[in-house]
């Protein structure tokens, strides 16, 4: 496989180092521009399988608010974001809601749960 270079910005911390990554397909050969080791980990993950958090809301019946915020317990593969959002749109929870109540277990086979990120009393 041919060697390529990809430019990335590390999002692990607020510094936001601009990385130049040399790689062969998904295999990272060299990372430049990182100010710490975490930048190398980020580059490897980003080149092989970029992951992001899912943050959204789901509908609630009989709640103090009509919605409750939810999050993925960990980042999920990027291409799974919109399919998981679509699943979450079908969900309607019933108040009262506990903090970190599971909303979607093992979301679309990613091994990651989607959970509520606050408690919500009934109205």
């Amino acid at each position: 496989m041919a060697e390529e270079t990809t430019k990335l910005i590390c999002i692990t911390c607020p510094v936001g180092c601009e990385l130049t990554v040399t790689h062969e397909g998904k295999k990272v050969l060299k990372v430049e521009g990182n100010q710490c080791k975490l930048g190398i980990e980020y580059a490897k993950q980003e080149i092989s399988e970029p992951r992001r958090m899912i943050i959204t809301t789901v509908r609630v019946k009989g709640g103090f608010h009509p919605l409750v915020p939810v999050r993925s317990a960990e980042p999920v593969p990027k291409e799974k974001i919109f399919p998981i959002l679509k699943e979450l749109r079908k969900v309607e929870l019933e108040a009262p809601i506990e903090m970190h109540q599971v909303v979607l277990e093992n979301a679309l086979g990613t091994g990651v749960d989607v959970v509520t990120s606050r408690s919500l009393p009934a109205s």
């Binding site: 607020p14 943050i55 959204t56 608010h65 919605l67 999050r71 990120s117």
Partner: protein, 425 residues
């Protein structure tokens, strides 16, 4: 009128106010109340449902509500009283608070110490001087955030976002998640004003078109926004003729900065610093009015909520000590001033004898970005007290430098401390 006496009254229940109330309790204050105009505790964090909070204090990646709940729970445990759905209308220099709610009507609270924790508000459209009609469909990014994340209402389908601050970028992603289209983000500066990580995970990830050095010069539509007209600007922020573009959309979001919320502070005679929009505070977070302290974004807009919590803890502890009369006097005589490439420094004045007892943190922001290593120098009447290296400095990120009791001798007799930033040779 319903009247009540408290040791410490905190106005606002965001992370700054909650931390202050908890710390006041822990410092020995008996009755501590938090007064909040909203129907629940937590402040603006409840609508900031994204992650990225708590990296300093908890070493965890929390969402806004998760972060808020840690302190809401703790405040309940230590017995902080909460007065919700209660709007504070007036505050006097004698620490009399006049508030109003549905249950009691007018309420008067006499407090031995008060902590101002009203947070900040967004710059409204008026500050922007965009001409044209006032059609529906123009919101600040934070108002849209509240509608989408708490009230479950989508304010539009096709958006243009003016400004590249963090709230604007986070809303660009949020609206995309909800199926809306963000047609454009426009930034008048030659660089993005929010964090790079938000640029990557909110803007680049979803291919949202962002243009620098452009602004909105006109809004089309009589009843509802139908389009905005953008234009390139020159170095004086003046639109360049011939560069106009009409962008069809139904909603315009403004993400053009935050300003401390200090209408109440002014009523109490609290002096404000025109550079920050917040009160002048000393090293105990006390304002010029004895017994009135301030914490959080009401003082200056912080970039990390963790620092808001820390400022709240400091203000609350000192308010608690003031209320219980363990400390009522302070010898505020050492002024702290901004030197080269420093915009402002908090605190603005301090009692040097405090440094003899415990370390003290100076917080500041720079005027210009420097993307190379710099020296941060603290000087007392021109003599070096402390210096440290920063790998880079940016106006969007607060910088801290700590003085320790070891430095006391160097500042004890001085009249003025100054902080400056110097590029390394």
């Amino acid at each position: 009128m319903f009247e009540k006496q408290y040791d410490v009254a905190v106005i606002g229940s965001g992370p700054g106010g909650l931390a202050a109330a908890i710390a006041a309790k822990e410092a020995g204050a008996q009755d501590v109340v938090v007064i909040e105009r909203d129907v629940e505790l937590g402040g603006i964090l409840l609508q900031c449902i994204h992650n990225g909070f708590g990296s300093v204090i908890f070493k965890e990646d929390l969402t806004g509500p998760e972060y808020a709940y840690r302190f809401i729970d703790q405040a309940r445990e230590v017995g902080v009283e909460a007065m919700m759905d209660t709007f504070v209308l007036d505050l006097t220099p004698h620490r009399e608070i006049y508030a109003i709610n549905k249950r009691d009507g007018m309420v008067k609270i006499n407090a031995r110490a008060v902590v101002l924790a009203m947070g900040c508000r967004e710059r409204p459209r008026g500050a922007l001087a965009i001409p044209g009609f006032r059609p529906a469909g123009i919101y600040t990014a934070g108002t849209a955030q509240r509608l989408v994340n708490i009230e479950g209402y989508m304010p539009g389908e096709r958006f243009v976002i003016l400004g590249s601050g963090d709230i604007g970028m986070i809303m660009a992603r949020r609206l995309t998640f909800e199926g809306a289209k963000v047609e454009r983000m426009l930034e008048i500066l030659p660089y993005i004003s929010g964090l790079k990580r938000n640029y990557v995970q909110c803007v680049l990830d979803y291919n949202i078109p962002l243009q620098l050095q452009r602004t909105v010069i006109d809004i089309k539509g009589r009843n509802r926004v139908e389009a905005v007209v953008s234009a390139q600007v020159d170095e004086h922020w003046q639109p360049i003729p011939g560069t106009e573009e009409t962008i069809p959309c139904d909603t315009l979001l403004l993400s053009v900065g935050l300003i401390p919320e200090n209408e109440l502070s002014k009523k109490a005679g609290v002096e404000l610093n025109p550079l920050t929009g917040g009160p002048y505070v000393d090293d105990t977070m006390q304002t010029n009015v004895p017994g009135i302290f301030a914490a959080g974004n009401v003082v200056h807009v912080y970039d990390l909520v963790d620092w808001v919590t820390k400022a709240g803890l400091l203000a609350g502890r000192h308010a608690g000590e003031y209320a219980t009369q363990r400390r009522t006097e302070s010898d505020r005589k050492l002024r702290v001033v901004a030197g080269d490439n420093v915009h402002h420094v908090i605190p603005e004045v301090l009692d040097p004898s405090d440094l003899e007892r415990e370390p003290l943190e100076l917080q500041f922001r720079v005027r210009r970005p420097v993307e190379a290593p710099v020296w941060v120098k603290v000087e007392a009447d021109g003599e070096l007290v402390k210096r440290k290296t920063e790998r880079y400095v940016r106006p969007s990120e607060m910088i801290m430098v700590k003085l320790s009791p070891k430095d006391y001798d160097k500042v004890a007799g001085a009249k003025k401390l100054s902080v400056r930033v110097e590029e390394k040779g």
